[in-house]
C-alpha cells in the first residue's frame, strides 16, 4: 500500500469517524455517557 493510499484511507476513516461522532451527539448518546460517568460506577470499582 503506497503512502498516498494510506493517507487517503486515514482521511476517509477520520471523516467517517467525525460523521458518526456528530450523529451520536445528535442522538443524545453523550447524555448516556454523562449519566454513567458522573455516578460512581459500581462495576468499575468491583462492587457491582
Amino acid at each position: 500500500m503506497s503512502r498516498r493510499a494510506r493517507d487517503i484511507t486515514a482521511a476517509l476513516t477520520a471523516a467517517a469517524g467525525a460523521a458518526l461522532l456528530l450523529l451520536g451527539l445528535h442522538m443524545g448518546e453523550a447524555e448516556i455517557v454523562l449519566r454513567k460517568a458522573v455516578n460512581i460506577c459500581l462495576e468499575c470499582i468491583g462492587l457491582g
Binding site: 500500500m1 503506497s2 503512502r3 498516498r4 494510506r6 493517507d7 484511507t9 486515514a10 482521511a11 476513516t13 477520520a14 467517517a16 469517524g17 467525525a18 460523521a19 458518526l20 461522532l21 456528530l22 450523529l23 451520536g24 451527539l25 442522538m27 448518546e29 453523550a30 447524555e31 448516556i32 455517557v33 454523562l34 449519566r35 454513567k36 460517568a37 458522573v38 460512581i40 460506577c41 462495576e43 468499575c44 470499582i45 468491583g46 462492587l47 457491582g48
Partner: protein, 293 residues
Amino acid sequence: MVKRLGKHIRLIVQLCWTALTNGYAMGFLKGGIYKGELKKICVPGLNCYSCPGALGACPIGSLQAVLGEQGKWFSFYIVGFLMLVGAFFGRFICGWLCPFGLVQDLLHKIPFPKKRKRLPGDRYLKYLRYLVLAVLVVILPLTVLDIVGQGSPWYCKYICPSGTLFAGIPLVLMNEGLQSSLGWLFNWKVGLLVVILLLSVWSYRPFCRYLCPLGAIYGLFNPIAFYRYEVDKDKCVSCGACTRACGFALRPDVEPNSTECIRCGDCIRACPTQALHRRGFGKERKVEREDGA
C-alpha cells in the same frame, strides 16, 4: 541536553497527560468523583471515569454504557470517536497518553532477573485482547439484559485493572460505606490487578499486549494512521538494533506498522543508520512494503 530530554520526553508527556486529565483534586480530598459536563467527553486512553480525579470519560466504559442502554445496538458517538482518534494516532495513544500504560512502564523499570519481552504462550495469548473486546465489551453487554432491558459493562465488572487501580482502591479506601459492601468480586478484581502488576515487572506491558480491548481497537488503525512509521530500505542494514530495543521484540524493520506497536519510539532512537522514521510529509522515499517485499 536536548538528546537527554528526548529520551525522557515520553515519560514527561505521560505524566503530564495523566495529571491533567485526572486533575480534579477535590475528588481525592473528599473521596468522590467529578460530576461536571466535561464528563461527556471521552479521553483517548483507558482512564476510568470513576477515578476520583478523572475529568473525562473512558471510551471502553462509555461504549459498554451505550450498548447496554435499553434499545441501543450500536454507539455512533463512541465508535466515531475511536475512528477519529485511531485515524490520526493509532496506538500512539497507548505509548504516550494512557495512564495504565504509564503504570506498567514504571513497574517495568524495577530491576528483576531474567526479564522477558513476551510471556510463555505469546503466540496464542496475543489474540486474547480481540476476544475480550468482542465478548466482554460488545456481545455480553448487548445480549445479557436485566428485567428492564439494561445490559451490564462486563469488561469493567470482571476484568478491568485500570478501574480497580484508579477508581476501586482509592474510593474504597476513602469511603467507609463502600468498605462494608466488599465481596468476592472486589477480591477477584484486586487479585487480577496484582497479578498484572507483578507480571509488568517481569514482562513489558503484559496487559496492553494480551488483554486491553482499547489497545486492540487502536492497533487496527496503525497501518493507515497519519502517525505511522516507515523504513528506508536503502539505509537499513538489518542489524536488528530496533528489535533489541523494542520492549515487545517486534520487527519494525519488516513491519513498521504492526498492530502491536505502541509507538514508543525506542526503535527509531536505536537505529544506527536512521532507516526508521516517522511518516514525513515530504517527497516519498523508497520505503519498505508491509509484506516485506
